[in-house]
Symmetry: C2
Subunit: 212 residues, 2 copies
């Protein structure tokens, strides 16, 4: 949905290419040989750089394989804050997350491989989980800002973010399990429907909802 072309001097392009080459090498090798059997040296060799150079592009093997957007938290935060102020916060979260995750799924073959790889390599799972965690923290502060609630007082921002991110994660997982055969949007919708549907009866037995 958004551009990948910015100020692109000769240097910039070369840097991007190197980064991409390292990522590709890391991904392929880890996919073939397994995470711990793949050394930084092997990755660097395949990418055509010195081992030492690896470390100026990624802080760890996990990051090289995953190649997360370093500004994702910031971007999502901004995206959330530019949504209409009166929109339901869960819907806003849903829209933002769905847009962003959806973008990463355009090359569906690669996305499916990625998910499978992450699933079978605990180190990657761990790194990804940590990354999500960081994301969620950023979103909590943004939601708190939107709602005007003090995050030190109310549990709501955290609960909302965690529910929305969780639903999105579940949908993404499912999408990959089905090899991307069903459209992502439908799965997200289904996940949010399950969430709302299953939790509703609790409102009765918990003695009312915590709404303004």
């Amino acid at each position: 949905m958004s551009a990948t072309t910015e100020a692109t001097s000769h240097r910039e392009r070369k840097k991007r290419a190197t980064r991409q080459a390292i990522h590709e090498a890391a991904f392929e090798l880890v996919d073939q040989l397994g995470f711990s059997a793949t050394t930084i040296e092997a990755i660097s060799d395949r990418a055509g750089v010195a081992s030492r150079t690896f470390w100026s592009y990624y802080p760890s093997k996990e990051y090289a394989v995953l190649d997360r957007d370093p500004f994702l938290a910031e971007r999502l935060r901004d995206a959330l804050l530019t949504r209409p102020a009166d929109e339901d916060p869960v819907q806003a979260l849903r829209a933002v997350l769905e847009g962003y995750v959806g973008d990463r799924l355009v090359d569906s073959h690669k996305a499916v491989r990625r998910q499978a790889l992450v699933r079978r390599e605990p180190h990657l799972m761990a790194a990804l989980a940590a990354s999500f965690d960081e994301l969620e923290r950023a979103l909590v502060s943004a939601v708190a800002e939107r709602l005007g609630t003090d995050p030190a007082t109310s549990l709501r921002p955290s609960v909302l973010v965690m529910a929305a991110c969780g639903a999105c994660r579940v949908a993404q997982q499912k999408w990959a399990d089905e090899q991307g055969r069903r459209p992502f949007h439908g799965l997200v919708e289904e996940a949010f429907r399950e969430l709302a549907g299953e939790l509703t009866p609790m409102a009765a037995l918990s003695g009312g909802a915590g709404r303004r």
Copy 2:
């Protein structure tokens, strides 16, 4: 709530003591010096064992500091499956999680320190997030079993587990932020109430719930 005394030969007791000593040493040192400034050697010295011995107790510094129960996933799974079969699955999850987390909070001073430490050390955050992830996967299979739904077909088990675990995590976080001043049970209740309350209006605009 449950016993810590089992078959306790001399060896068993010694092993437990060593494990505990290593954990304590790791915790204190990391708390004082920071995660990366604390070496395995320093931890081992303080615990009175050789560095080499550290590795037969914990697979990494993170694990030594966190000292997670290696059978937690299994335990929670069993606990969930021994709940009345007709109980609402979210309530069952809530009860099981609350019971288990609550147990870890009895020594409230230590629990608060623990949480604060995790919060300021990204390595610990990452390891903990990964650990939760593993837990959630175990719970999903247990919930699917309870519901008799095929986890490859329905999103419900995943969504429920993620919502319940998330709510619980939020409550725990909050509990620690408040230095354990408010009872954990109340926070859990509040988190679940927020969840149910906030998501209910969506049932209307999503066109009905995904039940039965």
